[in-house]
Symmetry: C2
Subunit: 272 residues, 2 copies
């Protein structure tokens, strides 16, 4: 008898986590995904740890009520600041993006453990939490974290392959490589950044400093898939999408993040 198809909850403060879902779809045939973007309360980055934990737990509880047997926290801020609270509050496995991102970086050890071997690009909030620094340190890696506050707005403006974005990347990467010239691996520590991977690779080549690029979204998807028993199904996975407010931007930009057209997004109210 075939196992029932697993239901997997994927949660982000917005639509950035669709880059994690994009990585999950090709490796989890037969699964049903329920995606929640807590758009009414984004961005989580500027908010306090207590507030973020409260928002994340209410989002997780919604996905549990939709039948989720596993929760993927496809949001760096919530992974950095609310993973313990989510694990304590929910009776299902919870996986974030930061530990898998650090573990993937550890597959590419640097030349020397006394100097940083890992460069993490992330939002200001994720850098301030130093969650990647700690996750890397737990694996014996030194990380240098670089806040890149303009990259999310540039991606959301649609300037994925644009001279301005190239110049901003050149500035951020030059500053980071001046501070941490020993790095050999770069972690994309924000769910928006996979869309910039080609431009980041090109900029690093122009700076004559190629790095091994680790996509935390990709790493998290594979870590999540490893927690689910392999399915006998070969049916394409199915998805439901929910947002807490303002689904227009979600619809408009989401398909670029998901890599395919985005079907109906349903509006729900989690209060607050």
């Amino acid at each position: 008898m075939a196992l029932a198809p697993p239901t997997i909850g994927v949660f982000d403060s917005g639509f950035g986590g669709l880059t994690v879902l994009r990585e999950l779809l090709p490796i989890m045939a037969g699964a049903h995904f329920v995606y929640l973007g807590d758009t009414a309360r984004l961005p989580y980055g500027a908010k306090s740890r207590e507030t973020i934990a409260r928002y994340a737990v209410s989002s997780g509880a919604f996905l549990l009520a939709q039948g989720a047997e596993l929760l993927v926290v496809a949001c760096n801020t919530a992974s950095a600041l609310a993973l313990d609270e989510l694990k304590a509050a929910l009776p299902i496995p919870v996986i974030g993006v930061i530990a898998p991102g650090a573990a993937a970086a550890a597959l590419h050890p640097g030349p020397c453990s006394l100097h940083p071997s890992v460069l993490v690009l992330a939002t200001a909030a994720t850098v301030q939490s130093h969650a990647y620094f700690r996750a890397c340190a737990a694996l014996g890696l030194q990380a240098y974290e670089k806040a890149c506050p303009l990259l999310v707005p540039l991606v959301e403006e649609g300037w994925i392959d644009h001279p301005v974005t190239a110049e901003v990347l050149r500035i951020y990467l030059s500053e980071a490589l001046a501070e941490a010239p020993t790095v050999t691996t770069l972690v994309l520590g924000c769910t928006h950044y996979p869309l910039l991977k080609p431009l980041i690779e090109r900029t690093l080549a122009e700076l004559n400093h190629p790095l091994q690029i680790v996509d935390a979204a990709h790493a998290a998807a594979h870590a999540a898939a490893a927690l689910i028993p392999p399915s006998e199904s070969t049916a394409p996975p199915t998805c439901s999408f929910y947002a807490t407010d303002s689904i227009e931007k979600f619809q408009r930009l989401g398909s670029a993040f998901l890599g395919q057209p985005l079907p109906e997004v349903r509006l729900i109210d989690l209060g607050g």
Copy 2:
């Protein structure tokens, strides 16, 4: 007998409204200002009209409880979407930034009323509301509204006078002037934009298309001052600052917006 010094509430979703307070301070000797940045719930721009009105009314009620006799809504989004609700909910005069900005633009009539004479630069949310378009139309002016989503992040990155910001402005202004070549006046329709005024003037000169620049923050401050009886006091105004979350960024960037060092910011909880 001297009148008691007036207490004036100034409200924004963040610290951008400090550019309005900056314009109020030199023209209102003797006044006491209470500034509230609703940082726990920013940005308002991505949220629905109902949610923004609820947030704005609770912020206005807090300032009323602090003794405000006049409320200055130093926030384009709240001015666009919640001014009527604020006026209905509060027993004091309420003034926003949009009507004064449009009125200031009307002081510089264009050559022809059949084509746009006013270019409004604003956030995507303010443009989507078309509040400036309507406020200008009520004064017989045609406005062309241009969304400039990268300018707030660039200002918050501190890149006020930076080649990347100059290039972004050149792109936005070129696009707007191609769509609306007849404009003669430019309205800074976001409280962050006064910090970019010198760079905007330089970019317009390079594009060989100088425009009369109207600062909605400046116009709103003068409209607010006109509602308060002239004070006999020559004492410098005093200020109290409140925020609902995350005062670190407020403290760090606020002094650039206020044009002077920012004293203590007190954290308050408005719920939500």
